[in-house]
Point group: C2
Chain length 118, copies 2
DNA sequence: CCGTTAGTTGAATAATTGTTCAACTGTTTT
DNA sequence: AAAACAGTTGAACAATTATTCAACTAACGG
């Protein structure tokens, strides 16, 4: 009958590799979340904002001046960073100060900097 | 004359923060490269491929089977990973085996996994 | 209370990008 | 030599997304 296929399924070393890899890989949801996290990091404006916040909390206007961009553009990106729980905001009078919500980000970026500098 | 402006420039704590942050931030090119690296990581297919390769080198067909995607789609993404020097390829007969080109990737992903698992 | 400053938001536009499809290059097998 | 298999590639399409613009809210100062 389908002898050839059966033999392949049992003997084929490729199938074994696939099986092994499948077991070791993080679950689908985790992998999706990782991609989503990196997607947030994968924009120059957002990496600029985040690395700026490594040094000090800043209000929106300061970030605008630092990066030479409009308040609207920065605010939109801060919203993305807020929704991803990467930054937090606190209001002081008319100004809103943003800061990092998490230390992991710093470590991930340190690794990335190490990588791009070879 | 422009007293008000001068006083602001000297006294304004915002200006000082911006100055300090500017000094501490990585140079523009490095920041761009970091964003580019994260952009490559920011796609589910590519994160799936990379985490699969953490465990073992694999040929294109195996990756296709593992992820349930076409050869073309996988090949296109492997090209992106190759161009970013994240994976390397070696030909064995008709098959092309891919493997990680770098250990940094593993460390960056470990940090990311830690982060998404809170 | 009115004007100003700081920041947010929704819609629109423009650019980027992931997958599919079809045609292609190599390599092995018969 | 031809068929079959593994993989690559370019064009096309669809979907996502970053910035701009304009209108808005919130807080402060006179």
């Amino acid at each position: 009958m389908t002898n050839k296929v059966e033999i392949c399924e049992v003997e084929n070393p490729h199938e074994k590799v696939i099986e092994k890899v499948k077991e070791m890989m993080p679950d689908e949801e985790t992998l999706y979340d990782i991609a989503e996290l990196f997607k947030v990091f994968g924009d120059s404006t957002r990496t600029n904002i985040l690395t700026a916040l490594f040094e000090s909390e800043m209000c929106v206007c300061d970030i605008c001046e630092l990066l030479g961009m409009t308040k609207s553009a920065i605010s939109h990106q801060l919203r993305v960073l807020r929704q991803s729980k990467l930054v937090k905001a606190r209001r002081v009078g008319k100004e809103v100060f943003y800061s990092l919500a998490d230390d992991h980000v710093v470590k991930i970026f340190e690794m990335a900097i190490e990588h791009v500098l070879e």
